[in-house]
């Protein structure tokens, strides 16, 4: 699959590392020059230095050929706009966004992002489940 990833911070970096062995064609766009250099020297991946919400840059990088478009920067607004551009302008089938503020999950889905992922809410849910589970255990004893 042709995969586009916006943002090469910790999440982006490890996402590339995890996806690479599966023979995907991956293109990464990152604003920070240092992050770009690190990614390019560590992993066999196409890295584009620039703003992943810039239409001209996305077009030059070939976003119109992407099957999946994943935005994982630390800024919710950038992730939303990148995915909206991918969807509306480049007709990418699947868009996935990282959500930093869990309240934005519903917002993202209403505004056209296919899948929004918040690590905060996943962890919070796990903790809630853990609390329920330990309450059950205590009751059983």
């Amino acid at each position: 699959m042709n995969v586009f990833i916006i943002g090469a911070g910790k999440v982006g970096y490890y996402l590339v590392k995890t996806l690479l062995p599966n023979k995907h064609k991956i293109t990464v766009i990152e604003k920070n020059q240092e992050y770009c250099s690190k990614l390019a020297s560590d992993l066999e991946v196409a890295v584009v230095h620039g703003d992943g919400t810039d239409i001209n840059l996305l077009s030059e990088a070939g976003a119109q050929h992407a099957d999946v478009f994943i935005a994982v920067t630390g800024q919710d607004q950038d992730n939303l706009i990148a995915c909206q551009l991918a969807k509306r302008n480049f007709h990418v089938r699947r868009t996935i966004a990282r959500v930093n503020n869990p309240k934005n999950i519903a917002v993202f889905e209403k505004l056209g992002v296919d899948i929004s992922v918040s690590s905060t809410s996943i962890i919070a849910e796990m903790i809630e489940k853990e609390i329920d589970f330990s309450a059950v255990k205590r009751w059983q004893n």
Partner: protein
């Protein structure tokens, strides 16, 4: 009328101060509390500290009762997101986003957002001044953009009535400017020497 201003920079603080002076109920949002120092001393509106894309912050600013919102933070994407939340999710009837990047403004304008691009406005104004080309202004009516320009009167046309003037393009004479005063171009108005024509046309 309750108006929310997202971003309290030079434009946001100016806008909030002006609207508050004119008697509107204003709430201004900025993530930096010291930004509110730019507001007028007698600003009577609400100051909300926080990120405007946070729904709790928007609620604090009164998004549930708001009639209008302007997104004027320095971050284009933030402005686009706030505007979409206000318009599509909260149903605010009047929403405008400032977008510096012309390409991005173009796209989101096409997607139905009311946008203003200071970059384009500045470029057009300065270019018109430098080249001596006449003033042009546009306004949006329905889904069309109407452009108004001002032309000097062709000496041959002095003394003719508007109804007799045939134009080579598909624009038409909307009004007449004489000594800085505007009058509508009625069919039998006579074009005088020294007046200018206000031309209107549909932009594709």
């Amino acid at each position: 009328m309750h108006i929310i201003i997202a971003g309290c920079g030079k434009v946001g603080s100016g806008l909030a101060s002006k609207l508050s002076r004119e008697g509107y109920d204003v709430a201004v949002i900025d993530s930096d509390e010291s930004a509110f120092e730019k507001l007028d001393d007698d600003f009577s509106g609400l100051r909300v500290v926080g990120v405007p894309i946070d729904q709790d912050i928007l609620k604090k600013a009164g998004i549930d009762q708001a009639d209008a919102l302007a997104a004027v933070t320095p971050d284009d994407n933030m402005n686009i997101m706030v505007s979409q939340v206000a318009k599509d999710l909260c149903g605010i009837p009047r929403v405008v986003a400032r977008i510096y990047n012309p390409a991005r403004e173009d796209i989101f304008h096409q997607f139905g957002l009311e946008t203003i691009c200071p970059t384009n406005l500045t470029v057009e104004t300065i270019a018109a001044f430098l080249t001596g080309k006449p003033f042009e202004t546009t306004c949006t009516i329905g889904s069309n953009t109407i452009s108004f320009t001002i032309e000097d009167v062709d000496p041959d046309l002095v003394g003719s009535q508007i109804i007799d003037i045939r134009r080579k393009d598909d624009r038409f004479i909307f009004g007449i400017l004489k000594d800085g005063r505007f009058t509508f171009a009625h069919p039998y108005t006579v074009v005088e020497k020294g007046s200018k024509l206000v031309i209107a046309g549909k932009v594709d």
